[in-house]
Protein backbone atom coordinates (compact mmCIF):
# COMPACT_ATOMS: atom_id res chain seq x y z
CA UNK A 1 0.00 0.00 0.00
CA UNK A 2 2.97 2.30 0.54
CA UNK A 3 3.69 2.16 -3.17
CA UNK A 4 0.13 3.15 -3.89
CA UNK A 5 0.58 6.30 -1.88
CA UNK A 6 3.72 7.21 -3.74
CA UNK A 7 2.10 6.78 -7.13
CA UNK A 8 -1.26 8.12 -6.18
CA UNK A 9 -2.27 10.84 -8.55
CA UNK A 10 -5.87 11.24 -7.61
CA UNK A 11 -7.81 10.31 -4.54
CA UNK A 12 -10.10 7.41 -5.31
CA UNK A 13 -13.70 8.45 -5.60
CA UNK A 14 -15.82 5.41 -5.04
CA UNK A 15 -19.40 6.35 -4.53
CA UNK A 16 -21.85 3.54 -5.08
CA UNK A 17 -24.69 5.16 -6.94
CA UNK A 18 -27.92 4.13 -5.35
CA UNK A 19 -30.21 5.03 -8.21
CA UNK A 20 -33.20 2.86 -7.41
CA UNK A 21 -36.09 5.23 -6.79
CA UNK A 22 -37.95 3.21 -4.15
CA UNK A 23 -36.93 0.92 -1.34
CA UNK A 24 -37.92 -1.98 -3.52
CA UNK A 25 -36.74 -2.83 -6.99
CA UNK A 26 -38.73 -4.85 -9.49
CA UNK A 27 -36.68 -7.17 -11.68
CA UNK A 28 -37.09 -6.31 -15.37
CA UNK A 29 -36.61 -9.98 -16.12
CA UNK A 30 -38.75 -11.94 -13.63
CA UNK A 31 -40.78 -9.11 -12.04
CA UNK A 32 -39.92 -10.30 -8.53
CA UNK A 33 -39.41 -7.41 -6.11
CA UNK A 34 -36.19 -7.24 -4.11
CA UNK A 35 -35.34 -4.96 -1.22
CA UNK A 36 -32.82 -2.63 -2.81
CA UNK A 37 -30.16 -3.05 -0.13
CA UNK A 38 -30.34 -6.79 -0.72
CA UNK A 39 -29.96 -6.20 -4.46
CA UNK A 40 -26.81 -4.15 -3.83
CA UNK A 41 -25.44 -6.90 -1.57
CA UNK A 42 -25.98 -9.23 -4.54
CA UNK A 43 -24.02 -6.81 -6.76
CA UNK A 44 -27.25 -5.97 -8.58
CA UNK A 45 -27.83 -9.55 -9.63
CA UNK A 46 -31.48 -10.53 -9.13
CA UNK A 47 -31.49 -13.03 -6.24
CA UNK A 48 -34.59 -14.59 -7.70
CA UNK A 49 -33.65 -15.25 -11.34
CA UNK A 50 -29.98 -14.34 -11.59
CA UNK A 51 -30.56 -11.50 -14.05
CA UNK A 52 -27.50 -9.23 -14.20
CA UNK A 53 -28.60 -5.61 -14.14
CA UNK A 54 -26.34 -3.14 -15.89
CA UNK A 55 -24.13 -1.29 -13.42
CA UNK A 56 -22.07 1.89 -13.46
CA UNK A 57 -18.30 1.98 -13.72
CA UNK A 58 -18.11 3.10 -10.07
CA UNK A 59 -20.24 0.16 -8.98
CA UNK A 60 -18.08 -2.15 -11.05
CA UNK A 61 -14.97 -0.99 -9.21
CA UNK A 62 -16.69 -1.34 -5.85
CA UNK A 63 -17.92 -4.85 -6.68
CA UNK A 64 -14.63 -6.05 -8.16
CA UNK A 65 -11.74 -4.46 -6.30
CA UNK A 66 -10.47 -4.48 -2.74
CA UNK A 67 -11.81 -1.54 -0.82
CA UNK A 68 -9.91 1.74 -1.38
CA UNK A 69 -7.38 0.01 -3.61
CA UNK A 70 -8.25 1.84 -6.83
CA UNK A 71 -5.97 4.63 -8.01
CA UNK A 72 -7.12 6.33 -11.17
CA UNK A 73 -4.57 6.82 -13.95
CA UNK A 74 -6.85 8.00 -16.77
CA UNK A 75 -8.57 11.32 -17.32
CA UNK A 76 -5.88 13.55 -18.80
CA UNK A 77 -6.84 12.81 -22.39
CA UNK A 78 -9.80 14.65 -23.85
CA UNK A 79 -11.79 14.24 -27.08
CA UNK A 80 -11.55 16.69 -29.98
CA UNK A 81 -13.53 16.96 -33.19
CA UNK A 82 -10.80 16.37 -35.77
CA UNK A 83 -13.24 15.71 -38.62
CA UNK A 84 -15.57 18.59 -37.73
CA UNK A 85 -18.20 15.91 -38.05
CA UNK A 86 -21.46 17.14 -39.54
CA UNK A 87 -24.46 15.68 -37.79
CA UNK A 88 -27.90 16.70 -36.52
CA UNK A 89 -26.16 17.62 -33.28
CA UNK A 90 -22.52 18.71 -33.25
CA UNK A 91 -20.01 16.18 -31.94
CA UNK A 92 -18.57 18.59 -29.32
CA UNK A 93 -22.13 19.15 -28.02
CA UNK A 94 -22.78 15.43 -27.79
CA UNK A 95 -19.48 15.00 -25.95
CA UNK A 96 -20.22 17.83 -23.56
CA UNK A 97 -23.59 16.31 -22.68
CA UNK A 98 -22.02 12.93 -21.91
CA UNK A 99 -19.22 14.55 -19.92
CA UNK A 100 -21.74 16.40 -17.77
CA UNK A 101 -23.75 13.21 -17.27
CA UNK A 102 -20.80 10.99 -16.31
CA UNK A 103 -18.19 13.41 -14.98
CA UNK A 104 -15.64 11.78 -17.27
CA UNK A 105 -13.84 13.14 -20.34
CA UNK A 106 -14.81 10.05 -22.36
CA UNK A 107 -16.19 6.52 -22.17
CA UNK A 108 -13.34 5.01 -20.18
CA UNK A 109 -11.84 4.89 -16.70
CA UNK A 110 -8.45 3.30 -16.00
CA UNK A 111 -6.26 2.79 -13.01
CA UNK A 112 -4.44 0.43 -10.70
CA UNK A 113 -6.09 -1.69 -8.07
CA UNK A 114 -6.13 -4.98 -6.23
CA UNK A 115 -8.33 -8.05 -6.26
CA UNK A 116 -7.93 -10.08 -3.04
CA UNK A 117 -4.52 -8.43 -2.60
CA UNK A 118 -3.36 -9.18 -6.13
CA UNK A 119 -2.28 -6.05 -8.01
CA UNK A 120 -3.45 -5.33 -11.54
CA UNK A 121 -4.19 -2.54 -13.98
CA UNK A 122 -7.81 -2.07 -15.02
CA UNK A 123 -9.60 -0.36 -17.85
CA UNK A 124 -13.35 -0.02 -17.58
CA UNK A 125 -15.59 1.08 -20.43
CA UNK A 126 -18.57 3.29 -19.63
CA UNK A 127 -21.61 2.36 -21.70
CA UNK A 128 -23.52 5.38 -20.42
CA UNK A 129 -21.06 7.66 -22.24
CA UNK A 130 -22.21 7.58 -25.88
CA UNK A 131 -22.81 3.86 -25.79
CA UNK A 132 -19.24 3.16 -24.67
CA UNK A 133 -18.12 3.94 -28.20
CA UNK A 134 -14.40 3.90 -28.96
CA UNK A 135 -12.83 7.00 -30.45
CA UNK A 136 -9.30 8.37 -30.13
CA UNK A 137 -9.55 8.90 -26.35
CA UNK A 138 -10.79 5.41 -25.48
CA UNK A 139 -8.11 3.96 -27.79
CA UNK A 140 -5.38 6.06 -26.20
CA UNK A 141 -6.47 5.25 -22.61
CA UNK A 142 -6.66 1.51 -23.29
CA UNK A 143 -3.23 1.71 -24.89
CA UNK A 144 -1.84 3.61 -21.91
CA UNK A 145 -3.41 1.12 -19.51
CA UNK A 146 -1.63 -1.72 -21.33
CA UNK A 147 1.61 0.28 -21.22
CA UNK A 148 1.14 0.94 -17.50
CA UNK A 149 0.63 -2.77 -16.84
CA UNK A 150 3.82 -3.45 -18.78
CA UNK A 151 5.73 -0.83 -16.78
CA UNK A 152 4.41 -2.14 -13.44
CA UNK A 153 4.79 -5.77 -14.57
CA UNK A 154 1.25 -6.59 -13.47
CA UNK A 155 -1.67 -8.19 -15.33
CA UNK A 156 -4.32 -6.19 -17.17
CA UNK A 157 -8.10 -6.51 -16.98
CA UNK A 158 -10.39 -4.72 -19.42
CA UNK A 159 -14.08 -4.63 -18.58
CA UNK A 160 -15.81 -4.18 -21.91
CA UNK A 161 -19.16 -2.51 -22.58
CA UNK A 162 -19.46 -0.85 -25.94
CA UNK A 163 -21.57 -0.44 -29.03
CA UNK A 164 -18.35 -0.37 -31.08
CA UNK A 165 -16.23 2.25 -32.77
CA UNK A 166 -17.37 5.88 -32.61
CA UNK A 167 -18.74 7.08 -35.94
CA UNK A 168 -17.99 10.73 -35.30
CA UNK A 169 -14.25 10.07 -35.52
CA UNK A 170 -14.65 7.76 -38.51
CA UNK A 171 -11.43 6.14 -39.64
CA UNK A 172 -9.55 7.47 -36.60
CA UNK A 173 -11.85 5.32 -34.45
CA UNK A 174 -11.23 2.35 -36.70
CA UNK A 175 -7.47 2.75 -36.22
CA UNK A 176 -7.87 2.46 -32.43
CA UNK A 177 -8.62 -1.22 -32.99
CA UNK A 178 -5.11 -1.71 -34.35
CA UNK A 179 -3.47 0.68 -31.91
CA UNK A 180 -4.81 -1.04 -28.78
CA UNK A 181 -3.88 -4.39 -30.28
CA UNK A 182 -0.26 -3.30 -30.78
CA UNK A 183 -0.04 -2.39 -27.07
CA UNK A 184 -1.64 -5.68 -26.00
CA UNK A 185 0.76 -7.63 -28.23
CA UNK A 186 3.65 -6.00 -26.34
CA UNK A 187 2.10 -6.98 -23.02
CA UNK A 188 1.73 -10.56 -24.18
CA UNK A 189 5.30 -10.65 -25.44
CA UNK A 190 6.46 -9.74 -21.91
CA UNK A 191 4.51 -12.69 -20.52
CA UNK A 192 1.97 -10.58 -18.69
CA UNK A 193 -1.57 -11.92 -18.68
CA UNK A 194 -4.47 -9.96 -20.13
CA UNK A 195 -8.06 -10.73 -19.15
CA UNK A 196 -11.20 -9.31 -20.69
CA UNK A 197 -14.59 -9.31 -19.05
CA UNK A 198 -17.36 -8.88 -21.59
CA UNK A 199 -20.47 -7.26 -20.18
CA UNK A 200 -23.81 -6.31 -21.65
CA UNK A 201 -23.46 -5.18 -24.40
CA UNK A 202 -20.14 -5.64 -26.20
CA UNK A 203 -20.39 -5.36 -29.98
CA UNK A 204 -18.76 -3.97 -33.12
CA UNK A 205 -15.20 -2.73 -33.30
CA UNK A 206 -14.50 -3.41 -29.62
CA UNK A 207 -15.49 -7.06 -29.96
CA UNK A 208 -13.48 -7.20 -33.19
CA UNK A 209 -10.31 -5.98 -31.48
CA UNK A 210 -9.02 -5.91 -27.90
CA UNK A 211 -12.06 -7.58 -26.26
CA UNK A 212 -11.47 -10.92 -27.95
CA UNK A 213 -7.68 -11.26 -28.00
CA UNK A 214 -7.39 -11.70 -24.24
CA UNK A 215 -5.59 -14.68 -22.76
CA UNK A 216 -8.79 -15.45 -20.90
CA UNK A 217 -12.15 -14.14 -22.06
CA UNK A 218 -14.79 -13.94 -19.34
CA UNK A 219 -18.41 -13.00 -19.93
CA UNK A 220 -21.23 -11.99 -17.61
CA UNK A 221 -24.37 -14.13 -17.88
CA UNK A 222 -26.86 -13.02 -20.49
CA UNK A 223 -24.65 -10.33 -22.01
CA UNK A 224 -25.14 -9.44 -25.68
CA UNK A 225 -21.80 -10.03 -27.39
CA UNK A 226 -21.17 -9.99 -31.11
CA UNK A 227 -19.68 -8.38 -34.17
CA UNK A 228 -22.76 -7.11 -35.98
CA UNK A 229 -25.76 -5.94 -33.97
CA UNK A 230 -28.84 -8.19 -34.04
CA UNK A 231 -30.80 -5.58 -36.01
CA UNK A 232 -28.19 -5.36 -38.75
CA UNK A 233 -28.14 -9.14 -39.07
CA UNK A 234 -31.91 -9.33 -39.18
CA UNK A 235 -32.01 -6.70 -41.93
CA UNK A 236 -29.37 -8.57 -43.92
CA UNK A 237 -30.77 -12.09 -43.74
CA UNK A 238 -34.45 -11.17 -43.36
CA UNK A 239 -35.30 -13.93 -40.95
CA UNK A 240 -35.74 -14.17 -37.21
CA UNK A 241 -32.74 -14.80 -35.03
CA UNK A 242 -32.56 -17.96 -32.93
CA UNK A 243 -33.33 -17.84 -29.22
CA UNK A 244 -30.37 -16.73 -27.12
CA UNK A 245 -28.41 -15.70 -30.22
CA UNK A 246 -25.25 -13.67 -29.40
CA UNK A 247 -25.72 -14.09 -25.65
CA UNK A 248 -22.83 -15.17 -23.40
CA UNK A 249 -24.14 -18.73 -23.05
CA UNK A 250 -24.50 -19.04 -26.85
CA UNK A 251 -20.89 -17.94 -27.28
CA UNK A 252 -19.67 -20.34 -24.61
CA UNK A 253 -21.42 -23.14 -26.45
CA UNK A 254 -19.74 -22.09 -29.71
CA UNK A 255 -16.31 -22.03 -28.12
CA UNK A 256 -15.81 -18.26 -28.18
CA UNK A 257 -15.47 -17.42 -24.49
CA UNK A 258 -13.65 -19.22 -21.68
CA UNK A 259 -16.04 -18.82 -18.79
CA UNK A 260 -19.45 -17.29 -18.22
CA UNK A 261 -19.12 -16.05 -14.67
CA UNK A 262 -21.69 -14.71 -12.22
CA UNK A 263 -20.82 -11.21 -11.03
CA UNK A 264 -20.79 -12.41 -7.44
CA UNK A 265 -18.02 -14.92 -8.20
CA UNK A 266 -15.81 -12.74 -10.34
CA UNK A 267 -13.40 -11.64 -7.61
CA UNK A 268 -12.54 -15.18 -6.58
CA UNK A 269 -12.22 -16.39 -10.15
CA UNK A 270 -9.99 -13.49 -11.15
CA UNK A 271 -7.77 -14.05 -8.10
CA UNK A 272 -7.35 -17.67 -9.12
CA UNK A 273 -6.51 -16.73 -12.70
CA UNK A 274 -4.14 -13.97 -11.60
CA UNK A 275 -2.26 -16.55 -9.53
CA UNK A 276 -2.24 -19.22 -12.22
CA UNK A 277 -1.07 -17.03 -15.08
CA UNK A 278 0.76 -14.26 -13.26
CA UNK A 279 3.37 -16.30 -11.43
CA UNK A 280 6.18 -15.43 -13.87
CA UNK A 281 6.36 -11.86 -12.64
CA UNK A 282 5.39 -12.42 -9.03
CA UNK A 283 7.86 -10.92 -6.58
CA UNK A 284 6.63 -12.61 -3.40
CA UNK A 285 4.17 -15.40 -2.69
CA UNK A 286 0.66 -14.15 -2.02
CA UNK A 287 -1.83 -15.32 0.53
CA UNK A 288 -4.30 -17.93 -0.51
CA UNK A 289 -7.63 -16.57 -1.55
CA UNK A 290 -10.62 -17.24 0.61
CA UNK A 291 -13.41 -19.12 -1.11
Amino acid sequence: MALDRIFRRKKPQLVVQDDLPELWSKCTHCSVQTYKKDLLAEKKVCPSCGFHNRISVEERIAFLLDEHSFVQSSGHVTPLDPLEFKDSESYPDRIKRSQQKTGRPDAILCGEGRILERPLVLALMDFSFQGGSMGSVVGEEITRAAELALERKVPLLIVCASGGARMQESVLSLMQMAKTTVALNALGKAGLPYFSLLTDPTTGGVTASFATIADVILAEPGALIGFAGPRVIQQTIRQNLPEGFQRSEFLLEHGMVDIVVDRRKQRTLLAQLLDHLGSKHKKAPVQEYKI
Binding site: H76, V77, T78, P79, L80, P82, L83, F85, K86, D87, S88, S136, V137, G139, E140, T143, A165, R166, M167, E169, S170, V171, L172, S173, L174, M175, Q176, M177, A178, K179, T181, V182, A183, L184, N185, A186, G204, G205, T207, A208, S209, F210, A211, T212, I213, G226, F227, A228, V232, I233, T236, I237, L241, P242, F245, Q246, H254, G255, M256
Partner: protein
Protein backbone atom coordinates in the same frame (compact mmCIF):
# COMPACT_ATOMS: atom_id res chain seq x y z
CA UNK B 1 -19.32 11.51 -65.45
CA UNK B 2 -20.95 14.63 -66.84
CA UNK B 3 -22.82 15.18 -70.09
CA UNK B 4 -19.94 17.34 -71.34
CA UNK B 5 -17.43 14.55 -70.90
CA UNK B 6 -19.73 12.02 -72.46
CA UNK B 7 -20.41 14.11 -75.56
CA UNK B 8 -16.70 14.85 -76.02
CA UNK B 9 -16.02 11.13 -75.71
CA UNK B 10 -18.55 10.19 -78.36
CA UNK B 11 -17.19 12.91 -80.66
CA UNK B 12 -13.70 11.46 -80.15
CA UNK B 13 -14.88 7.93 -80.87
CA UNK B 14 -16.65 9.16 -84.02
CA UNK B 15 -13.48 10.86 -85.25
CA UNK B 16 -11.42 7.76 -84.56
CA UNK B 17 -13.91 5.61 -86.41
CA UNK B 18 -13.95 7.96 -89.38
CA UNK B 19 -10.17 7.90 -89.55
CA UNK B 20 -10.15 4.09 -89.38
CA UNK B 21 -12.90 3.71 -91.94
CA UNK B 22 -11.94 6.36 -94.49
CA UNK B 23 -8.23 6.75 -93.86
CA UNK B 24 -8.67 10.53 -93.58
CA UNK B 25 -5.87 12.30 -91.69
CA UNK B 26 -7.57 13.42 -88.46
CA UNK B 27 -4.54 12.98 -86.17
CA UNK B 28 -4.41 16.65 -85.22
CA UNK B 29 -8.14 16.88 -84.57
CA UNK B 30 -8.10 13.74 -82.46
CA UNK B 31 -5.12 14.95 -80.46
CA UNK B 32 -6.84 18.30 -79.80
CA UNK B 33 -10.01 16.61 -78.69
CA UNK B 34 -8.11 14.21 -76.39
CA UNK B 35 -6.34 17.15 -74.82
CA UNK B 36 -9.63 18.95 -74.25
CA UNK B 37 -11.20 15.81 -72.77
CA UNK B 38 -8.32 15.37 -70.37
CA UNK B 39 -8.61 18.95 -69.16
CA UNK B 40 -12.34 18.58 -68.63
CA UNK B 41 -11.97 15.31 -66.73
CA UNK B 42 -9.23 16.79 -64.58
CA UNK B 43 -11.32 19.79 -63.55
CA UNK B 44 -14.31 17.54 -62.93
CA UNK B 45 -12.23 15.16 -60.82
CA UNK B 46 -11.18 17.97 -58.52
CA UNK B 47 -14.85 18.80 -58.01
CA UNK B 48 -15.97 15.22 -57.32
CA UNK B 49 -17.96 14.90 -54.12
CA UNK B 50 -17.05 12.25 -51.60
CA UNK B 51 -20.23 10.41 -52.48
CA UNK B 52 -19.29 10.45 -56.16
CA UNK B 53 -16.00 8.76 -55.26
CA UNK B 54 -17.84 6.15 -53.20
CA UNK B 55 -19.89 5.42 -56.31
CA UNK B 56 -16.74 5.23 -58.43
CA UNK B 57 -15.30 2.75 -55.93
CA UNK B 58 -18.41 0.63 -56.46
CA UNK B 59 -18.55 0.85 -60.27
CA UNK B 60 -19.23 -2.71 -61.47
CA UNK B 61 -16.49 -2.47 -64.11
CA UNK B 62 -13.89 -1.27 -61.59
CA UNK B 63 -10.80 -3.51 -61.45
CA UNK B 64 -11.00 -6.17 -58.74
CA UNK B 65 -8.17 -7.63 -56.69
CA UNK B 66 -7.45 -10.33 -59.23
CA UNK B 67 -7.13 -7.74 -62.01
CA UNK B 68 -4.20 -6.26 -60.10
CA UNK B 69 -2.80 -9.69 -59.25
CA UNK B 70 -2.88 -10.87 -62.86
CA UNK B 71 -1.26 -7.74 -64.25
CA UNK B 72 1.22 -6.66 -61.56
CA UNK B 73 2.39 -10.03 -60.24
CA UNK B 74 3.57 -13.29 -61.77
CA UNK B 75 3.18 -16.92 -60.85
CA UNK B 76 0.43 -16.42 -58.28
CA UNK B 77 -0.41 -19.76 -56.68
CA UNK B 78 -3.74 -19.60 -54.88
CA UNK B 79 -3.77 -21.57 -51.63
CA UNK B 80 -7.18 -22.52 -50.30
CA UNK B 81 -8.90 -22.93 -46.99
CA UNK B 82 -8.46 -22.10 -43.33
CA UNK B 83 -7.60 -25.73 -42.39
CA UNK B 84 -10.48 -25.61 -39.99
CA UNK B 85 -13.86 -24.99 -41.55
CA UNK B 86 -13.96 -23.87 -45.16
CA UNK B 87 -12.59 -21.91 -48.07
CA UNK B 88 -13.82 -18.34 -48.12
CA UNK B 89 -14.02 -17.02 -51.67
CA UNK B 90 -14.14 -13.35 -50.69
CA UNK B 91 -10.61 -13.43 -49.30
CA UNK B 92 -8.08 -15.35 -51.33
CA UNK B 93 -4.32 -15.54 -51.21
CA UNK B 94 -1.06 -17.28 -51.81
CA UNK B 95 2.53 -16.68 -52.87
CA UNK B 96 3.48 -14.83 -56.05
CA UNK B 97 6.39 -12.83 -57.40
CA UNK B 98 6.67 -9.12 -58.03
CA UNK B 99 9.50 -8.27 -60.43
CA UNK B 100 11.32 -11.36 -59.23
CA UNK B 101 10.65 -10.77 -55.54
CA UNK B 102 8.69 -13.46 -53.73
CA UNK B 103 5.69 -12.06 -51.84
CA UNK B 104 2.59 -13.34 -50.05
CA UNK B 105 -0.66 -11.97 -51.43
CA UNK B 106 -3.87 -11.53 -49.44
CA UNK B 107 -6.66 -10.38 -51.70
CA UNK B 108 -10.21 -9.38 -50.94
CA UNK B 109 -12.04 -10.35 -54.07
CA UNK B 110 -15.37 -9.16 -55.38
CA UNK B 111 -17.10 -10.80 -58.31
CA UNK B 112 -16.64 -9.45 -61.83
CA UNK B 113 -20.31 -10.13 -62.61
CA UNK B 114 -23.47 -11.29 -60.86
CA UNK B 115 -22.47 -14.93 -60.85
CA UNK B 116 -19.05 -13.99 -59.57
CA UNK B 117 -20.50 -11.80 -56.90
CA UNK B 118 -22.62 -14.64 -55.59
CA UNK B 119 -19.54 -16.86 -55.47
CA UNK B 120 -17.54 -14.10 -53.78
CA UNK B 121 -20.39 -13.04 -51.47
CA UNK B 122 -19.93 -9.47 -52.79
CA UNK B 123 -16.50 -9.36 -51.18
CA UNK B 124 -17.84 -9.94 -47.68
CA UNK B 125 -15.84 -12.56 -45.80
CA UNK B 126 -16.92 -15.05 -43.21
CA UNK B 127 -14.55 -15.85 -40.32
CA UNK B 128 -12.81 -18.55 -42.36
CA UNK B 129 -11.61 -15.84 -44.75
CA UNK B 130 -9.72 -14.07 -41.99
CA UNK B 131 -8.49 -17.39 -40.63
CA UNK B 132 -7.13 -18.24 -44.06
CA UNK B 133 -5.40 -14.83 -44.09
CA UNK B 134 -3.82 -15.63 -40.71
CA UNK B 135 -2.60 -19.00 -41.94
CA UNK B 136 -0.96 -17.32 -44.92
CA UNK B 137 0.56 -14.63 -42.68
CA UNK B 138 2.17 -17.42 -40.63
CA UNK B 139 3.52 -18.91 -43.82
CA UNK B 140 4.87 -15.53 -44.94
CA UNK B 141 6.57 -15.12 -41.57
CA UNK B 142 8.06 -18.60 -41.74
CA UNK B 143 9.54 -18.15 -45.19
CA UNK B 144 10.38 -14.46 -44.95
CA UNK B 145 7.92 -13.20 -47.57
CA UNK B 146 6.61 -9.64 -47.40
CA UNK B 147 2.81 -9.54 -47.15
CA UNK B 148 0.88 -7.51 -49.71
CA UNK B 149 -2.76 -7.13 -48.72
CA UNK B 150 -5.24 -5.86 -51.30
CA UNK B 151 -8.34 -4.49 -49.59
CA UNK B 152 -11.75 -4.33 -51.28
CA UNK B 153 -14.73 -5.16 -49.09
CA UNK B 154 -17.97 -3.45 -48.09
CA UNK B 155 -17.37 -5.09 -44.71
CA UNK B 156 -17.23 -8.46 -42.98
CA UNK B 157 -20.44 -10.42 -43.54
CA UNK B 158 -23.11 -9.87 -40.86
CA UNK B 159 -24.94 -13.20 -40.61
CA UNK B 160 -25.90 -15.92 -38.17
CA UNK B 161 -23.24 -18.41 -39.26
CA UNK B 162 -20.57 -15.71 -39.26
CA UNK B 163 -21.42 -14.83 -35.65
CA UNK B 164 -21.54 -18.48 -34.62
CA UNK B 165 -18.06 -19.05 -35.97
CA UNK B 166 -16.68 -15.93 -34.30
CA UNK B 167 -16.56 -13.13 -36.88
CA UNK B 168 -15.30 -10.64 -34.29
CA UNK B 169 -12.72 -13.11 -32.98
CA UNK B 170 -11.38 -13.83 -36.46
CA UNK B 171 -10.99 -10.14 -37.27
CA UNK B 172 -9.39 -9.32 -33.92
CA UNK B 173 -6.94 -12.19 -34.20
CA UNK B 174 -6.08 -11.28 -37.77
CA UNK B 175 -5.31 -7.69 -36.72
CA UNK B 176 -3.16 -8.99 -33.86
CA UNK B 177 -1.33 -11.46 -36.09
CA UNK B 178 -0.57 -8.91 -38.79
CA UNK B 179 0.59 -6.43 -36.14
CA UNK B 180 3.10 -9.00 -34.83
CA UNK B 181 4.86 -9.94 -38.09
CA UNK B 182 8.53 -9.18 -38.58
CA UNK B 183 8.21 -9.39 -42.36
CA UNK B 184 7.17 -6.14 -44.08
CA UNK B 185 3.44 -5.65 -44.64
CA UNK B 186 1.77 -3.40 -47.22
CA UNK B 187 -1.95 -2.75 -47.36
CA UNK B 188 -3.60 -1.12 -50.33
CA UNK B 189 -7.29 -0.20 -50.45
CA UNK B 190 -8.29 -0.54 -54.11
CA UNK B 191 -12.06 -0.08 -53.83
CA UNK B 192 -14.03 -0.29 -50.62
CA UNK B 193 -12.39 -0.29 -47.20
CA UNK B 194 -15.36 -1.30 -45.07
CA UNK B 195 -14.53 -1.06 -41.38
CA UNK B 196 -13.10 -3.96 -39.34
CA UNK B 197 -13.46 -6.34 -42.27
CA UNK B 198 -10.90 -4.20 -44.11
CA UNK B 199 -8.65 -3.50 -41.12
CA UNK B 200 -8.27 -7.25 -40.54
CA UNK B 201 -5.65 -7.15 -43.32
CA UNK B 202 -4.95 -3.43 -43.02
CA UNK B 203 -2.11 -3.44 -40.50
CA UNK B 204 0.58 -2.42 -42.97
CA UNK B 205 3.99 -0.90 -42.43
CA UNK B 206 2.63 1.25 -45.22
CA UNK B 207 -1.03 1.76 -45.99
CA UNK B 208 -2.05 3.14 -49.35
CA UNK B 209 -5.30 3.84 -51.12
CA UNK B 210 -6.31 4.25 -54.75
CA UNK B 211 -7.51 7.72 -55.64
CA UNK B 212 -11.20 6.77 -55.94
CA UNK B 213 -11.38 4.22 -53.13
CA UNK B 214 -12.84 4.80 -49.67
CA UNK B 215 -11.95 3.60 -46.18
CA UNK B 216 -14.16 4.22 -43.17
CA UNK B 217 -15.37 2.93 -39.84
CA UNK B 218 -18.86 2.47 -41.30
CA UNK B 219 -20.46 2.59 -44.75
CA UNK B 220 -22.16 5.87 -45.65
CA UNK B 221 -25.53 4.05 -45.83
CA UNK B 222 -25.27 2.54 -42.34
CA UNK B 223 -23.98 5.81 -40.94
CA UNK B 224 -26.93 7.67 -42.50
CA UNK B 225 -29.37 5.11 -41.12
CA UNK B 226 -28.06 5.71 -37.61
CA UNK B 227 -27.51 9.47 -37.72
CA UNK B 228 -30.29 10.62 -40.00
CA UNK B 229 -32.60 7.60 -39.70
CA UNK B 230 -32.55 7.30 -43.46
CA UNK B 231 -30.10 5.35 -45.62
CA UNK B 232 -30.91 7.73 -48.49
CA UNK B 233 -28.94 10.41 -46.66
CA UNK B 234 -25.78 8.46 -47.52
CA UNK B 235 -24.30 11.30 -49.61
CA UNK B 236 -24.48 13.55 -46.54
CA UNK B 237 -22.96 10.84 -44.34
CA UNK B 238 -20.14 10.32 -46.86
CA UNK B 239 -19.22 13.99 -46.50
CA UNK B 240 -19.22 13.72 -42.70
CA UNK B 241 -17.14 10.56 -42.63
CA UNK B 242 -14.19 12.07 -44.56
CA UNK B 243 -13.52 8.75 -46.21
CA UNK B 244 -11.65 9.53 -49.43
CA UNK B 245 -7.96 9.01 -50.15
CA UNK B 246 -7.25 12.73 -49.88
CA UNK B 247 -9.05 12.85 -46.50
CA UNK B 248 -7.07 9.88 -45.21
CA UNK B 249 -3.80 11.39 -46.36
CA UNK B 250 -4.59 14.59 -44.46
CA UNK B 251 -5.53 12.59 -41.35
CA UNK B 252 -2.26 10.63 -41.50
CA UNK B 253 -4.05 7.30 -41.96
CA UNK B 254 -2.38 6.48 -45.28
CA UNK B 255 1.12 7.16 -46.58
CA UNK B 256 0.10 7.64 -50.16
CA UNK B 257 -2.82 8.05 -52.53
CA UNK B 258 -2.13 6.12 -55.73
CA UNK B 259 -3.37 8.11 -58.73
CA UNK B 260 -6.00 6.69 -61.05
CA UNK B 261 -6.54 7.67 -64.69
CA UNK B 262 -8.99 10.55 -65.07
CA UNK B 263 -12.53 9.31 -64.76
CA UNK B 264 -11.60 6.26 -62.72
CA UNK B 265 -9.51 3.09 -62.63
CA UNK B 266 -11.89 1.19 -64.92
CA UNK B 267 -11.20 3.52 -67.86
CA UNK B 268 -7.54 2.57 -68.19
CA UNK B 269 -6.55 -0.62 -66.44
CA UNK B 270 -2.94 -0.57 -67.67
CA UNK B 271 -2.21 2.86 -66.25
CA UNK B 272 -4.01 1.99 -63.01
CA UNK B 273 -2.00 -1.17 -62.46
CA UNK B 274 1.26 0.54 -63.49
CA UNK B 275 0.71 3.23 -60.83
CA UNK B 276 -0.17 0.58 -58.24
CA UNK B 277 2.87 -1.50 -59.08
CA UNK B 278 5.26 1.44 -58.99
CA UNK B 279 4.08 2.46 -55.51
CA UNK B 280 4.18 -1.09 -54.13
CA UNK B 281 7.69 -1.70 -55.46
CA UNK B 282 8.97 1.59 -54.09
CA UNK B 283 7.66 0.95 -50.57
CA UNK B 284 8.77 -2.65 -50.63
CA UNK B 285 12.27 -1.55 -51.59
CA UNK B 286 12.36 0.93 -48.68
CA UNK B 287 11.12 -1.65 -46.20
CA UNK B 288 13.58 -4.28 -47.42
CA UNK B 289 16.36 -2.12 -45.92
CA UNK B 290 15.00 -2.77 -42.40
CA UNK B 291 15.73 -5.72 -40.13
CA UNK B 292 12.84 -7.84 -38.86
CA UNK B 293 12.89 -6.08 -35.50
CA UNK B 294 12.94 -2.69 -37.20
CA UNK B 295 9.98 -3.68 -39.36
CA UNK B 296 7.97 -4.60 -36.27
CA UNK B 297 9.09 -1.48 -34.43
CA UNK B 298 8.23 0.82 -37.34
CA UNK B 299 4.75 -0.68 -37.74
CA UNK B 300 4.05 -0.62 -34.00
CA UNK B 301 5.05 3.04 -33.78
CA UNK B 302 2.98 3.88 -36.83
CA UNK B 303 -0.24 2.56 -35.28
CA UNK B 304 0.63 3.65 -31.72
CA UNK B 305 0.57 7.26 -32.89
CA UNK B 306 -2.81 7.21 -34.65
CA UNK B 307 -5.57 9.19 -32.98
CA UNK B 308 -6.37 12.84 -32.31
CA UNK B 309 -7.06 14.09 -28.78
CA UNK B 310 -6.30 16.88 -26.33
CA UNK B 311 -4.24 16.47 -23.21
CA UNK B 312 -4.23 18.30 -19.90
Amino acid sequence: MSENVRSLESALHALEKTMRDTGADLVQEISNLKHKLEGLRSSEDAKLSRWARVQLARTPSRPTGLDYVERAFSDFVELSGDRCYGNDQALIGGPATLEGRPVMLLVQQKGRDTKGNIKRNFGMSHPEGYRKAMRLMDMAQKFGLPVIAIIDTPGAYPGIAAEERGQAWAIAESIAKMASLTVPTLSIVIGEGGSGGALAIGVGNRVMIMQNAWYSVISPESCAAILFHDAKEAPRAAESLRLTGQDLLELGIVEEVIPEPLGGAHLDLDTTVANFKEAVLRHLEELSQLSGEEVLEQRSRRFRNLGVFGEN
